[in-house]
C-alpha cells in the first residue's frame, strides 16, 4: 500500500476534497492520476483480502434516467467496497425536471447521502446541466444546514462525457502497459461502427477523445460523414493533444484509423446533430417527428453497414487491443450484422471483461478522493487497520 500512498502524496489532490467528478476536462492531470492510483490501491487491498471500507454507514444514491444493469452494478459495487448502502431513485425516462423540483429532490434524497451517481445521457444539452443543478442544490443544502454532509456527485454518463468509462478504459490500458507514461505515442482509433439499433449516446467517443489526448496518445477519430461528435469536444481533444505532445486527427475511413493502431475502439453512436434535433422533438412532445427521425437515422445507419470491426481490419493494426464499453453488437450473435465480427470479439473477451472490471474501482476512487481529506493517509490507515473482508 505504501507505494500507492507515496505516489499519491506526490500529486496535488487538494481540490478533490468535497468536490464532484463531472467531466475529465475539468480535472488536472494530477487529479486524474490520483484516481488511477487510488483505484489501483483499492483493488490491491481487495486482492489481499482487506476491507476498503472508509464508511461505517452512509448512502450512495443512484439516479438513473435510463435502464442500465452494468452501470448500476458498477456503482453499487463501488459503494459497497467503501461501505455505503445503495438507494436507487428511478425517475423514468421522462424529460429532465428543472428548477424547484431538482432543488427539492436533491435535498430530499441527500439526508444521509455521501455520494450520488447520475446517469443522464438521453438529451443533448441536458444531462450535464442537470448534474450541475443537483450539485448546486446539494451545496446550498449543506451550507443551509439541511444536510449534515455534502454528497459527492459522480457523472455515470451524460450528454458530454462518460468519465467513469473513459477512466476505466485508460486504467485497463495503463495496467497492461505497466504505467501511465507508456501511453505516450500509442495510437488509439476511436471509430464509429455499424449497429442496427439507433440513438446510442455520444458520451463514449467524446469521453475517449477528450481523455486519451491527455496522455500523449495519438487519437484518431473515424466516422462516416454525418456522424460528427460535438465540435466543443473536438476542440478540447485538440488542445489536450497539443499540450500533452500527442495528436488528435480525423478520418472518414475505418481502415485508415486502424492502420498501425495499438488500440481500437469501434462503437456505434448517433450523429450529434440528430441527437440535438431529437432532444428538441422530445421537448415539443412531437412523437411523429421522433418516429420519422428514427426511421431516417436507421436508413442512414444502414448505408454504413461495412463499418464492422473484422479480422481483416484488425490485421492492419499493430496487433491492437480491441476495446469496447459493452454490450457490443456482435455480428451473428446479438444481431445479424453489427459493430464487431464474432471472432474478433471472442478473442478479446477476457480483455473486455477486465476493461469493465476497472469501473467499480474508478468510481470508488472518485468518491474516496472526495471524502478523504488526506487520501494517502487514509490508504495507509486501511492497510494498517488490516481488517479482513471475510472472517477467516
Amino acid at each position: 500500500m505504501e507505494k500507492y500512498a507515496s505516489r499519491l502524496e506526490a500529486l496535488d489532490t487538494s481540490n478533490c476534497f468535497n468536490n464532484d467528478f463531472l467531466l475529465t476536462w475539468e480535472k488536472t492531470d494530477d487529479e486524474l492520476k490520483a484516481v488511477f492510483e487510488v483505484a489501483d490501491a483499492l483493488r490491491a487491498l481487495r486482492q489481499s483480502g482487506l476491507s476498503a471500507r472508509i464508511f461505517d454507514s452512509g448512502l450512495g444514491i443512484s439516479l438513473f434516467r435510463d435502464n442500465s444493469t452494468r452501470t448500476r452494478f458498477s456503482f453499487a459495487s463501488a459503494c459497497n467496497l467503501l461501505g455505503l448502502s445503495v438507494q436507487d431513485l428511478d425517475e423514468g425516462k421522462s424529460q429532465v425536471a428543472h428548477g424547484e423540483t431538482v432543488r427539492e429532490t436533491a435535498n430530499m434524497i441527500s439526508f444521509m447521502a455521501e455520494a450520488i451517481g447520475i446517469r443522464d445521457d438521453m438529451f443533448i444539452g441536458k444531462g450535464n446541466a442537470y448534474m450541475r443543478e443537483v450539485a448546486e442544490a446539494a451545496s446550498v443544502g449543506f451550507l443551509d444546514g439541511t444536510l449534515e454532509q455534502r454528497p459527492t456527485l459522480v457523472n455515470l454518463q451524460c450528454d458530454l462525457d462518460h468519465p467513469t468509462q473513459a477512466m476505466a478504459d485508460a486504467s485497463h490500458m495503463i495496467t497492461e502497459l505497466g504505467g501511465i507514461e507508456n501511453l505516450k505515442g500509442k495510437k488509439i482509433a476511436m471509430t464509429w461502427a455499424y449497429s442496427p439499433s439507433y440513438g446510442k449516446p455520444l458520451s463514449v467517443p467524446q469521453g475517449v477523445c477528450a481523455l486519451m489526448t491527455r496522455f500523449g496518445m495519438d487519437v484518431v477519430l473515424a466516422h462516416p460523414d454525418g456522424y460528427e461528435i460535438m465540435p466543443e469536444i473536438e476542440d478540447i481533444a485538440k488542445a489536450n493533444a497539443e499540450k500533452s505532445g500527442g495528436s488528435f486527427s480525423k478520418t472518414s475511413s475505418m481502415k485508415e484509423a486502424f492502420e498501425g493502431a495499438d488500440y481500437v475502439y469501434p462503437k456505434s453512436w448517433a450523429p450529434f446533430k440528430a441527437m440535438e434535433k431529437r432532444s428538441k422533438l422530445y421537448e415539443d412532445g412531437d412523437s411523429d417527428g421522433i418516429k420519422a427521425l428514427e426511421k431516417e437515422l436507421l436508413a442512414q445507419n444502414s448505408q454504413h453497414s461495412d463499418w464492422e470491426c473484422d479480422s481483416s481490419l484488425m490485421a492492419v493494426t499493430k496487433n491492437a487491443m480491441y476495446l469496447h464499453c459493452l454490450p457490443a453488437d456482435i455480428s451473428g450473435v446479438s444481431c445479424e450484422r453489427g459493430e464487431v465480427a464474432a471472432d474478433v470479439f471472442g478473442k478479446s473477451r477476457t480483455s473486455l471483461y477486465k476493461q469493465a472490471s476497472f469501473k467499480p474501482y474508478v468510481i470508488a476512487a472518485m468518491i474516496f478522493l472526495a471524502k478523504a481529506k488526506d487520501p494517502a493517509g487514509a490508504l495507509r490507515l486501511l492497510s494498517a487497520r488490516g481488517r479482513r473482508r471475510i472472517l477467516d
Copy 2:
C-alpha cells in the same frame, strides 16, 4: 451527548421498548418528548462525525402502497443511520389484503426485520387497521418462535395520522424556538389550500391537529365547508387542547386562521366523506363511480381556488413560519394556480428543507426507542464508543 441522555432519563420511556409507533395520540407526553430528544441526539452524533449505528446487521422493511420518493428516502436514511439495510416490499396500489395473506406476509418479510415502515393512506378505515394486523401477526410470529425478534412498526402515513411528518414538523418548530416549552401559546393555522389535483390524504392535517394541541399551542383548523377532516380526530384535538392549556378552533376563513398566526400550514386535502365514498367505490370495483367522483371533487376544488397562501395573507400573520410537508403545489411553478404563491414558497425554501430534514431522525428515534432497553445508556455508549462515521 450527556445532556440528551440525562434529559431522556427523566422521561418514562419504558413502554416504548419492543413497541410500535402508530399514532401520536396513543403515546404519552414523555414518549413524544423522548422521540424529540433522541432525534436531536442522533443528529448531534452525526454532526460530530460519530456513528450512530446500534445495529451490526438487520433489515428495515419498507412496505409502501403508494409511490413515495420522499418517505422512501427518509425511511432508508433512518435505517442506514442505525445500521439496518432496507428491503422494499412493493405491493402495488391495490386494495389492502386481509387476514391470512397479511399474517403470512408479515411473517415472511420479518425473518431478519428489526423495523417495518408502512405507508398506507389510500383508503379510509383501512391503512391503520392494516398496520395493526401486521403488528399483531409479527407479535404472534415472535411468540411462536418463527421470528427471533419482534420488528418494530413505524407508521409512515395512514388514513388517520402521519406521525413521522407531524413529529418532524414539531421538531423543526422546537429547534427554531429553542425548546418544546416555547410552543405554548403559539398559534398555528392548519388550513386547507387549493390544488388542481385531487384526493390528497387527510393524514397531514389530522396529524398536525392531533399533535400540536398536545403542547399548549393554539391550533386553528380552516377549510371551506365540505372539507371536513374526520370528526374523531377533531375530538382528540379538543381533548388534547383542554389538557395542555392550548386551544383548538375551527373557521371557514383562511384569512381568519392566518391572523396573528406564528405558523401557517396551508395544504390541500380531500374531504373525509368523499374519501370514505371513494374507498367504498374501490371496494366495489366501481370504476365509473370513481371517475364520476373524481370529476365532482375537482369541480368542488375549483370553487375554492382563492385558498392560496400568498403574501397578502402572510401579511396578516405574526411574521409566521410557512410549513409544508412537500411537495407543494406552487402557483406558476408546479401548476398554474396552487396551494402557495411562488414568492412565499421561495422565501421559505431553506426552512422547508430543514423541516423535511428532521424526518429521518424522528423515524430513527422511534426505532431506537423500541430497540434500546436503556436508551439513555445507549446514547452514552454511542458517544463513548466514538466510532467515526468516515475514516479520517
Copy 3:
C-alpha cells in the same frame, strides 16, 4: 456453539469451499448435514444476540426470473445475516438468455459479488442449465482476473430442484424430531393437490422426493394420472431410498398416500410433459398454443378438485404434520376450492411459518460453507468474538 462446531468438524465439507449449491443430489450426505448444522448454529447465534457477520462488505446478487416476495426476502435475510448487501437483477420473465449474454452478465454483476441467488423455474430444461452457465462464466472470470473472488451460486428454485426449500423443510422436521437420525422410517406423503391456477413448478415435489429419500424416510409420491414428475428425478429418489434404507413408492390415490403418514405435503404442480410442451411453445413464440395449453391444463386440473387435503384425509394419517412451501391455495380463503381445507391450514399455521423460517438460515449456511475455509473454526470465532447484533 462448540457442539455445532465439533459436529461440523466430524463431517467432510472440503468440497463445499468455493463451490455452488445447485442440486441436493450432487451433494454428499456429509455436505447436506453440514448445511443443517451451520443453519442451526447461525440461528443459535442470532437467538443469543450475537452477530453472525462473516463479511465486512460484499454483495449478494439476486437474479430472479419470476416475482417472488418470499424467496426474495429469504435470500435478503440470509445475505444480511452474513453481512452482504443485496443487489437485485430483474431480467423479467423473458426466455432465458444464452451464450455471450450470460457470460457477459455473469461477469458484470459479479465485481463485488460473494453470492448469487438465482430463481429460474419457468422452463423445463432451462433453469438449472442457465445456473451452470452463470457458474462457469464466474469461474472463468475469476481465473482470468476479472473478478477478485468467485461468487457462490445458490439455486433458489429451478426446473429440477428447489434445494433451499427442501433443505428448509427437512430442517423443520429434524428440529421437531430432535435429530436427523429420527427421520429414518418416517413416512412422508408428497402428494399433488388441486388448485384453480395453472403451471406451478415441479421443483418442490421433485426436490422433496430427491431429498427426503436420503435420510431413510418412506417417501410416497401421489398424483392423478398425467401429473408425472420428471422420470430422472424418480430414478434419483429410488436410488437414494435403496442406499439409505428408506423407500420410494408411487400411488394415484391421495388417501393411500396419507395412510399412516407422519408428514403430508399436498401441493399443486403442473404435469412435467405439459411443462415441456409449454417451454417449446414459448421458444416458438406460439402464444395461441400457450393459451390453448393453459385452457387444456385448467380443464384437466378441474377433474381432480377432490384432491384437497381436508380433515377426513388428515384423520387417516399418524397425526401427520402438514407441510407446505407457501403460499397455499386454501379452500374458502384464497380460492373457492384449493389444495387444503381452511381448518387443516389454520391448525398448522404456526408450524408452517416455522417451516418457512428455516430457509434464510439454510441459504446462509450454503453461502457460509462456500466462503469459510474452516467452517467449524469460523463458528468458534463468531462465538468468541461475541459481537452483539444490537448495542445494549
